[in-house]
């Protein structure tokens, strides 16, 4: 192989610009983190709410929850990204659509974070529903029997237990968010994958570029994993044998 290795490439200036390639990757990492963390926050809030709704005693409410989950988990993520970017603005009332297309700040970022957040929320909701389902039914009865309302029962008794149970499966969802965020490049978010392609074309040092980007994604996913493990340890209930799932 006649490849010319150059690990010094990261410190070099980009063609026709002041910044270095390292600056490009740093910007990319910044956007990857911004998209992923925003999406994850959204996914947690919506996913917990929808997961809880799916276990509600009322049929219509539970159905709304199922519809949400099926909608987001049966369409490929890349297609969802394009739908949000190209189709949804057209479906909005005309003035809003115009605003989204022309004036909305950080349009690509907002679209990508919303899309990835909703997509992941469906997966979080499934985990949360399963977690709630694994609790003994007596816990709900006991809370209601004390006079707690149904929302109070979820808030103080059911969700705190269900969320502890689902930390391990949620860990892999959190790691997936970082990996899936790479799809945001398709609508022009200048995240890691986007910057990597640009650097590869500009510098013609593709191998170094993609090895560096691989390492950065790896670090993100690994940090997500460690962070969740830390939360799991912090919230462990004394006396309960750790449940393995």
């Amino acid at each position: 192989m006649n490849y010319h290795w150059n690990w010094g490439i990261f410190g070099e200036q980009v063609k026709g610009g002041e910044e270095t390639y390292l600056d490009w990757l740093a910007t990319g990492l910044g956007w990857t983190l911004a998209v992923s963390l925003t999406a994850w926050l959204l996914a947690l809030v919506i996913g917990i709410a929808v997961g809880a709704l799916r276990t509600a005693p009322s049929r219509p409410i539970a159905l709304i929850g199922s519809a949400w989950v099926e909608l987001f988990r049966n369409i490929p993520l890349l297609v969802q990204m394009f739908l949000w970017f190209f189709v949804v603005p057209e479906l909005l009332p005309q003035e809003w659509g115009l605003w989204v297309k022309q004036d909305m700040p950080a349009k690509e970022f907002v679209t990508a974070a919303l899309c990835l957040g909703f997509f992941t929320s469906a997966r979080v909701a499934e985990q949360v529903r399963a977690g709630i389902g694994s609790l003994p039914r007596g816990q709900r009865d006991a809370a209601l029997a004390l006079g707690l309302t149904l929302p109070q029962t979820y808030r103080h008794v059911i969700l705190p237990q269900a969320l502890r149970i689902v930390i391990p499966p949620l860990t892999s969802e959190f790691m997936n968010v970082f990996k899936n965020s790479s799809i945001a490049f398709a609508i022009g978010v200048m995240e890691l994958t986007f910057q990597a392609r640009q650097m590869q074309e500009d510098s013609e040092q593709g191998i170094e570029t993609y090895l560096a980007v691989t390492l950065l994604y790896f670090i993100c996913a690994f940090a997500a994993n460690r962070g969740m493990a830390w939360i799991e340890a912090r919230t462990r209930v004394p006396g309960l044998i750790a449940r393995t799932s």
């Binding site: 006991a142 029997a145 004390l146 006079g147 309302t149 103080h156 237990q161 004394p238």
Partner: protein, 242 residues
């Protein structure tokens, strides 16, 4: 205190309770027994509205349970319930288990709720364990905490669903002792149990259920001396044989 009239309930097409009627007067202790699947749990869960029912009526302290206008959480706050599997909240310390509903439902201040909780823990002999979590206690201790948790709400009556049947034999006594004391203090109690010793000691009446029906409803002495129905006789013979 508790008045059950013509109560019927079905799951899908299968009837689980058939025209059950009985009353529990203030200060009365009524034991409910009967074979597995006869509807005992369903009956007492109807009393605090945990199970909906299709026909008949239940009133607790003058409040109709089946009336859609009834504020069920408020009613339930006044009816203590103790479960077969304790159902303490495993993620909370014993102290917090006792305080939660006092604060959230009765609106008591945290200090007041905590003090009330500790007094009741003392009464069931468990103050030393206030800061432990349920999983760190034995079954008997957990059930005593569960009784204390129900009492912390100052209930007007107490429902028990087989409170000792999930316990190791050596722990049954400590739980029954607490219940006997409660009965002697005049608490209105409806107790599903097969502990006939407890029934003889404190029950005023015994209800025998079979296939969703109240087959027999008699003063305790009479029930044990000479059960009227053959089914109750057979049941007693089997259960006392052990």
């Amino acid at each position: 205190m508790i008045e059950i009239r013509d109560l019927s309930k079905a799951y899908g097409g299968t009837p689980v309770l058939k025209a059950c009627s009985t009353t529990v007067a203030k200060g009365e202790v009524v034991v409910v027994c009967g074979p597995s699947g006869s509807g005992k749990s369903t009956l007492i869960k109807c009393v605090n509205g945990l199970e909906p029912f299709q026909h008949g009526s239940i009133t607790v302290d003058g409040v109709s349970v089946g009336d859609p206008k009834t504020d069920l959480p408020r009613l339930r706050a006044r009816v203590g319930m103790v479960f077969q599997h304790f159902e303490l909240f495993p993620h909370m310390s014993v102290r917090k288990n006792l305080a939660l509903a006092q604060i959230r439902v009765l609106g008591r201040e945290a200090d007041e709720a905590d003090a009330r909780g500790l007094r009741l823990l003392d009464r069931v002999g468990l103050v030393a364990h206030a800061d432990k979590h349920p999983a760190q206690l034995s079954g008997g201790q957990q059930q005593r905490v569960a009784i204390a948790r129900a009492l912390a709400m100052d209930p007007v009556c107490m429902l028990f669903d087989e409170p000792t049947s999930a316990l190791d034999p050596e722990m049954i006594g400590e739980v029954l002792d607490v219940m006997v004391e409660l009965a002697r203090e005049g608490m209105t109690m409806m107790v599903v149990t097969h502990e006939m010793g407890f029934a003889r000691q404190v029950a005023h009446r015994v209800i025998f259920m079979d296939h969703g029906e109240i087959v027999e409803d008699a003063p305790a002495a009479q029930f044990f001396a000479a059960p009227a129905s053959e089914r109750a006789q057979g049941f007693l013979a089997r259960i006392l044989h052990h």
